[in-house]
């Protein structure tokens, strides 16, 4: 138990280091590329005078020394207080007669809302990957070379070579648009019902199918398990089809290797049924490799969800990140820091959970960082 505890502490320390390092890199990168944040304060100005720039820097709090700003910004992000965006959604002049600047939207509520969508997508998708991959991989691995094995491997490979955007849009066109089996776009929360209004200031792709004309035109509020699952069914399917090939191949290889082990022969000679041999003696061995692979693929999954979210009009953290990093010529530093923080936290926590599971499943593990094997080919799908 102490071993597990010290392992956990070490992993958490490493995670915090990673988090700090990435926030630092973001901060340094922001100031290293030329940009003029004053345009956020004077959105309509054609040309900014030096006085205006100084004034804007004062309002945004970037007239202070960089070291102060660094500790202020990073410290605030680590306390999950992301402040408000530099971007201002309003019209006209931002500074009123009293010399006060209208604040941007607070970042935290929108980010948490979007995190929920990405989490639902990735966790649900991962569940379906395992649901399909474990039986199919085991089946293929116990019949290496047979026609069924080849068919499974080939069909799975086609899934990985389709780009998630193309695959998602094809599924959406077919099942959502044409056959009306599932809703085409959008997201419904699992717990509290809401209206299809883009959260967090509407910075997402304008394809959410939302109607913002007036309350009378609003669609019925949606929420609850059925709405949630039906809206996410196609995104989950897309996600699963993309990752299926890798997991099937990996489980297949692991099962095929393990079937030749002595202890499998022993189990068979003692009269265990084929199903029992696979379940009790072969699959536990494969589960270690599955865990390792999941740990390495978490950041890939975020990359893939950029496209799945786009294809299905979801408004998640991954597409937020693309907008934050690619959308404007001038980056909105508080928002970028918040997005980087949340995404890194997701990866770091995911890795810690995987490592802990690993330590629980495999009594030999937990003595050091577990990273064997190389990243899989799916790295590119993103």
């Amino acid at each position: 138990m102490t071993r597990l505890l010290s392992f956990l502490v070490r992993r958490i320390a490493a995670g915090i280091f990673t988090l700090l390092a990435l926030l630092t890199i973001t901060f340094v990168m922001f100031w290293a590329i030329p940009s003029e944040p004053a345009v956020f304060v004077f959105p309509n100005a054609q040309h900014l005078s030096n006085q205006q720039i100084a004034q804007a820097h004062h309002y945004l709090g970037i007239d202070k020394p960089k070291t102060y700003q660094y500790f202020h910004d990073v410290g605030r992000a680590l306390r999950f207080d992301f402040g408000s965006e530099w971007e201002w959604g309003g019209f006209g002049t931002r500074i009123n007669a009293l010399g006060k600047m209208a604040p941007g939207l607070p970042i935290a509520p929108g980010i948490y809302q979007d995190l929920r969508e990405t989490l639902s997508l990735i966790l649900g998708g991962a569940f379906f990957v395992l649901l399909f991959a474990v039986p199919l991989g085991t089946f293929a691995g116990s019949r290496v070379g047979a026609l069924s094995d080849r068919t499974i491997s080939l069909v799975a490979l086609i899934g990985v070579c389709m780009h998630p955007m193309v695959l998602g849009l094809i599924l959406r066109s077919l099942f959502g648009h044409h056959l009306h089996w599932t809703p085409e776009v959008g997201y419904c929360p699992l717990f509290t019902p809401h209206y299809h209004l883009p959260a967090g200031g509407g910075t997402g792709p304008a394809i959410t199918g939302s109607i913002a004309a007036g309350p009378s035109l609003l669609p019925k509020p949606c929420g609850g398990l059925v709405d949630w699952a039906s809206h996410l069914a196609l995104p989950w399917l897309t996600f699963a089809l993309l990752f299926l090939a890798l997991y099937i191949r990996m489980i297949r290889a692991s099962v095929a290797d393990t079937l030749h082990e002595d202890y499998v022969r022993t189990a068979r000679s003692k009269g265990a049924s084929e199903f029992r041999v696979l379940r009790r003696h072969v699959l536990p061995n494969a589960s270690l490799r599955i865990l390792t692979m999941i740990g390495m693929e978490i950041s890939t999954a975020i990359g893939v969800s950029i496209y799945i979210e786009t294809a299905f009009g979801l408004h998640g953290l991954a597409s937020d990140a693309v907008q934050a990093l690619a959308g404007n010529s001038t980056l909105d530093l508080p928002y970028v820091l918040a997005v980087v923080m949340m995404l890194t936290l997701f990866v770091v926590i995911g890795n810690i959970v995987v490592d802990l599971l690993y330590a629980v499943v495999d009594p030999r593990a937990g003595r050091g960082p577990i990273h064997h094997g190389t990243k899989s080919a799916a790295g590119g799908v993103i």
Binding site: I33, C161, L169, S299, V347, V348, I382
Partner: protein, 340 residues
């Protein structure tokens, strides 16, 4: 009898591996077709991939399908009101083998072949960049250890905790203005080199880790100790005694990396930060059909043109599957005991 070297033996094993050898042939055909095919088809059908044929799309801007004869004119015939009318019967026609690419009416086959060239250039060049950086940093970190190693390892770990695609998006938008314009005629379209360098740098962390881990396990072997004992310099040990051991795993990684880089290029095109839209790559061909991150396009029965999705997808599929199989075959051929 002369003994055979490991490369010769490996080549023999690869040749005997039926599927890997087929994959190798397929890949060579794809490369040759991408680099010469566009010119050959242009010569055969007398138009090239940038000619715009107004008659290759109909009134709904729906492109013509595969194997269509299209009036061989690049201007519209109009009536007295300026509306486009059908071309006179006497107009010569030209053959669109894979149909047209959209409202603009360019030849899909030639664009597919030219796009393959750009995609392969990006994929291969990015893999070379990544391997160069990876071998350099990984061998220095792994061999000398100490502070250098700690820094390399920490940076690698940190960067890998962040989604690669977001790095690429950020770099493509904010850092690439310097490399964007590098190009050389139609052989290397501008933007391709810049994208390859960015992808190469962003993916260099994987070979770095691979090389570092292998060097660390190898550097305590007896043959390194022996080399040190006879007075070989660090540089010589790295070059002559350690590098040859890395080649198999780097070849395996390189083949897969080319495949993933091609898919990364498709992804960047979908976000709209890849090469210019007018430059054909497999990614930009797909994103003309399905839209970009900011404007995804859904099924539209008026303009439904499945061949624009099917042909690039098949091209990508063949390339990626072939490269995966080659990588698998190379691994088995150069390391028959299955250690790596």
């Amino acid at each position: 009898m002369r003994p055979h070297g490991p490369w010769r033996l490996g080549w023999r094993r690869l040749r005997r591996d039926r599927w890997s050898f087929i994959a190798l042939i397929v890949f060579v055909i794809i490369v040759v077709a991408s680099f010469c095919g566009g010119a050959i088809v242009t010569h055969l059908v007398h138009h090239n991939g940038t000619d715009l044929y107004p008659y290759a799309s109909n009134g709904n801007l729906r492109a013509v399908g595969p194997w269509t004869h299209v009036p061989d004119v690049t201007h519209e015939f109009t009536d007295s009101y300026g509306n486009m009318v059908a071309a006179p019967k006497s107009t010569k026609t030209t053959l669109f083998i894979f149909g047209a690419d959209g409202p603009l009416g360019r030849d899909e086959l030639i664009r597919l072949l030219d796009g393959g060239r750009a995609s392969l250039e990006i994929g291969i060049f990015a893999a070379i960049v990544a391997l160069s950086i990876g071998v350099f940093l990984g061998s220095i970190g792994g061999y000398f250890g100490g502070l250098v190693d700690a820094v390399v390892a920490r940076i690698t770990e940190t960067v890998m905790a962040f989604p690669l695609m977001l790095f690429l998006v950020f770099a493509s938008v904010h850092l690439s203005s310097a490399v964007r314009s590098i190009g050389w005629g139609w052989e290397i379209p501008s933007g391709a080199i810049g994208e390859a360098i960015l992808i190469g740098i962003a993916t260099s962390f994987y070979p770095t880790r691979l090389v570092r881990a292998q060097i660390i396990t190898l550097k305590h072997s007896d043959f390194i100790e022996a080399a040190e004992m006879v007075g070989a310099s660090h540089w010589r040990i790295l070059r002559k005694h350690l590098m040859p051991h890395l080649v198999p795993s780097l070849l395996v990684w390189g083949a897969i990396a080319v495949a993933t880089n091609i898919l990364l290029e498709v992804g960047l095109s979908f976000i709209g930060v890849g090469v210019q839209v007018s430059v054909p790559t497999w990614g930009s061909l797909l994103s003309t059909t399905w839209g970009t991150f900011y404007q995804p396009q859904v099924f539209n029965s008026q303009a439904f043109t499945p061949w624009q999705t099917i042909f690039p997808t098949i091209a990508i599929l063949l390339t990626v599957v072939a490269l995966n199989q080659i990588s698998e075959g190379v691994r088995r051929a150069l390391d028959p005991t299955g250690r790596s």
